[in-house]
């Protein structure tokens, strides 16, 4: 076998873009062992020089099995970062450690959350969902009743409309992916299609809007177009197979696939069918992105196509030249990810990444790119396309329309909303990684 690997000629390691990006077929197995082909391993001998030993955990039975599993104590750093750990009288953000996770599902304990007035301690037996307004018959639903309805399961990312706000900085802020983009996560949600409940109440087909409201102390409230409410909206009850985390809206939340997180109202208790948007605080102010000329968007809603590299990324360092797999996440509120390209030379040349399927709409999509680092400076970045025809904008094009902050903002601040341009990591000759703009 080893001889066969060595038999591969270097020309089979097809380079698809500058600075060592390799063809994605290198990831597919089938004996394309580029690592063995170019790197001469230490010679094997028959003499035992460094014999394996039994580690201590193999010499005695292990711990008692707990009812609820927790990650290994050696993974204790894989936690969320908190913007308001003492619970001061303001919003609390918990950012997901995206750079330390793999695949496409964010585990519930580290799913990002934003709470504007803490986590309400809701007794599901006393919680209720009311549907009223322009309906034939106002209805109230208990949680137990909703649990008897036909359900659907789907993967879906939820992203704060203000995620990636540090990217509006005029200078790249040196932060991990968690700091820069940690207000997005992806889960498998299960719940009742909202259209079933609206039908049961007899919602007026001519009504254009729905007001959704939570049972939190601020009664967070957003206006949702009926187009969305009757399309793919869900009253979500389960998150990755278990009931919602309290911070994610227990016992139920609205799920609007692809729409900014704030609209996915948590602790959902009231839906009012109406003829006009309510222009609540959050839609009037926070989630109306300001433009350079002083005008502003309203009803932005959609989190547009975005991608970033999770590994390598800021906070890691490369341990010498050789093979690395570049791994990243792409998603779009407009549909399915269709293509992702990766560059190792700061955007001068690009190669198609391997996009892992099945690709779900409005969901994290993992992409991978084999890379041989030659030890020279390199700048890694990614760019995604979705099946609506939208492409992740280059930074210069994005900034030309949306502008950027005049001063470097606080990394926890929200200078603006709805950033979806590129993220790039510059690697120097020693393998250290910095955040740069390309």
């Amino acid at each position: 076998m080893r001889n066969r690997k060595r038999g591969f000629h270097a020309s089979t390691l097809e380079q698809v873009a500058g600075n060592g990006l390799l063809h994605r077929r290198a990831l597919l197995g089938g004996g394309v062992a580029f690592a063995g082909a170019l790197t001469a391993g230490p010679a094997l001998t028959s003499a035992a020089a460094d014999a394996l030993e039994e580690p201590e955990w193999s010499l005695a039975p292990g711990d008692v099995t707990p009812v609820l599993q927790k990650p290994s104590r050696f993974e204790a750093k894989v936690v969320r970062t908190l913007s308001n750990p003492k619970g001061d009288a303001r919003t609390q953000h918990a950012r997901a450690p995206l750079h330390m996770l793999e695949g496409t599902i964010t585990p519930n304990p580290v799913h990002f959350t934003i709470l504007h007035s803490g986590i309400p301690d809701i007794d599901p037996d006393k919680h209720m969902l009311v549907i009223h307004g322009l309906v034939k018959q106002p209805l109230k639903f208990t949680v137990d009743a909703l649990l008897r309805y036909p359900m659907v399961t789907r993967k879906c990312f939820v992203e704060c409309g203000g995620n990636s706000a540090p990217m509006f900085s005029p200078e790249p802020i040196q932060g991990t992916l968690q700091a820069l983009h940690g207000l997005v996560s992806c889960a498998e949600w299960t719940g009742v299609p909202l259209s079933i409940l609206l039908d049961e109440a007899g919602a007026d087909p001519a009504a254009k809007w729905l007001i959704a409201e939570g049972a939190d102390s601020l009664a967070v409230s957003r206006s949702v177009p009926m187009k969305k409410a009757t399309d793919d909206a869900m009253v979500a009850l389960y998150q990755n197979g278990e009931r919602l985390m309290p911070g994610n809206g227990y016992p139920m939340r609205l799920l609007l696939p692809g729409y900014e997180g704030n609209m996915n109202v948590k602790f959902l208790r009231r839906l009012k069918v109406v003829d006009q948007p309510a222009m609540t605080y959050y839609e009037s102010r926070n989630y109306s992105p300001l433009l350079p000329d002083g005008k502003a968007y309203k009803f932005y809603f959609v989190n547009e196509v975005k991608s970033f590299l999770t590994r390598p990324s800021f906070g890691y360092s490369l341990k010498g030249p050789g093979f690395y797999e570049i791994s990243g996440i792409a998603y779009s509120g407009l549909g399915r990810i269709e293509k992702v390209q990766v560059s190792a030379d700061g955007g001068k040349s690009w190669g198609d990444a391997a996009v892992e399927g099945p690709v779900s709409p409005q969901a994290f999509t993992r992409f991978r790119m084999p890379w041989r680092w030659d030890g020279q400076p390199a700048t890694l970045t990614s760019r995604a396309w979705d099946d609506s025809g939208a492409v992740q904008p280059l930074r210069a094009d994005f900034i030309a329309v949306r502008g950027e902050a005049k001063k470097v903002p606080n990394v926890l601040g929200f200078p603006n909303q709805h950033y979806n341009s590129l993220t790039a990591w510059a690697i120097d000759g020693s393998g250290e990684i910095k955040h740069v703009y390309v």
């Binding site: 001061d88 009288a89 303001r90 007035s117 009311v130 549907i131 009223h132 106002p138 209805l139 109230k140 639903f141 009743a145 909703l146 008897r148 309805y149 036909p150 509006f168 079933i196 409940l197 049961e200 254009k208 007001i211 409201e213 102390s217 601020l218 009664a219 409230s221 177009p225 187009k227 208790r269 009231r270 009012k272 109406v274 006009q276 309510a278 222009m279 609540t280 605080y281 009037s284 102010r285 109306s288 300001l290 433009l291 350079p292 000329d293 002083g294 005008k295 502003a296 968007y297 309203k298 009803f299 932005y300 809603f301 959609v302 949306r402 502008g403 950027e404 005049k406 200078p415 603006n416």
Partner: protein
């Protein structure tokens, strides 16, 4: 039995089978509730003033409440801002580019948003404790302090929706086909 009777009979049977089957397809577990019973939760105020409650308040009353209810502790003296947002002030929306402070006077498109938000969410530590008169008074105080209404104008369900917001026409809808 004529052929038409047979057909009619068959149609009746089909109806008899399909109607209950359809009803059985739906859980139908929502319990009817009257709008009157929903009223305590129905606090959404529309931009045209729909669902504003009876009551009224003035800027003088509101100025006192602003201190008595502790609004100043987060929003600063006279609404100049503190740990929480500035409430009084009208800096140009281009003064700091895209990070310019969005205030009630320079940004909000509708006066009803203020009533809706104060009533549903403020004061932050003790929401849902203000009377409707108190909410009108706080709105009057903040609109007057922002020079959007005269000091002596009474805010109520008729006057409040008519307050002219200077930035009302400055918004672009991002995805019009999604509305």
């Amino acid at each position: 039995m004529s052929m038409s009777n047979v057909l009619a009979g068959a149609a009746l049977i089909a109806l008899a089978i399909s109607a209950p089957a359809l009803a059985g397809d739906r859980p139908g577990l929502g319990k009817p509730i009257s709008e009157a019973d929903i009223k305590p939760w129905d606090i959404s105020v529309m931009p045209d003033g729909t669902n504003l409650p009876p009551g009224s308040g003035t800027a003088v009353q509101g100025a006192k409440l602003y201190v008595d209810k502790g609004c100043n502790q987060c929003h600063g003296d006279n609404g100049k801002g503190g740990p929480s947002n500035m409430l009084v002030g009208n800096p140009p929306l281009t003064i700091d580019g895209i990070t310019s402070n969005k205030t009630i006077a320079n940004f909000w498109a509708y006066p009803t948003t203020l009533f809706d938000y104060i009533r549903r969410a403020m004061p932050w530590p003790t929401p849902h404790t203000l009377s409707d008169d108190e909410v009108y008074a706080l709105c009057a105080y903040l609109f007057a302090a922002n020079n959007l209404i005269p000091q002596d104008e009474v805010m109520n369900a008729q006057t409040l929706p008519k307050v002219k917001m200077p930035n009302h026409d400055n918004f672009i809808i991002r995805f019009p086909d999604r509305i």
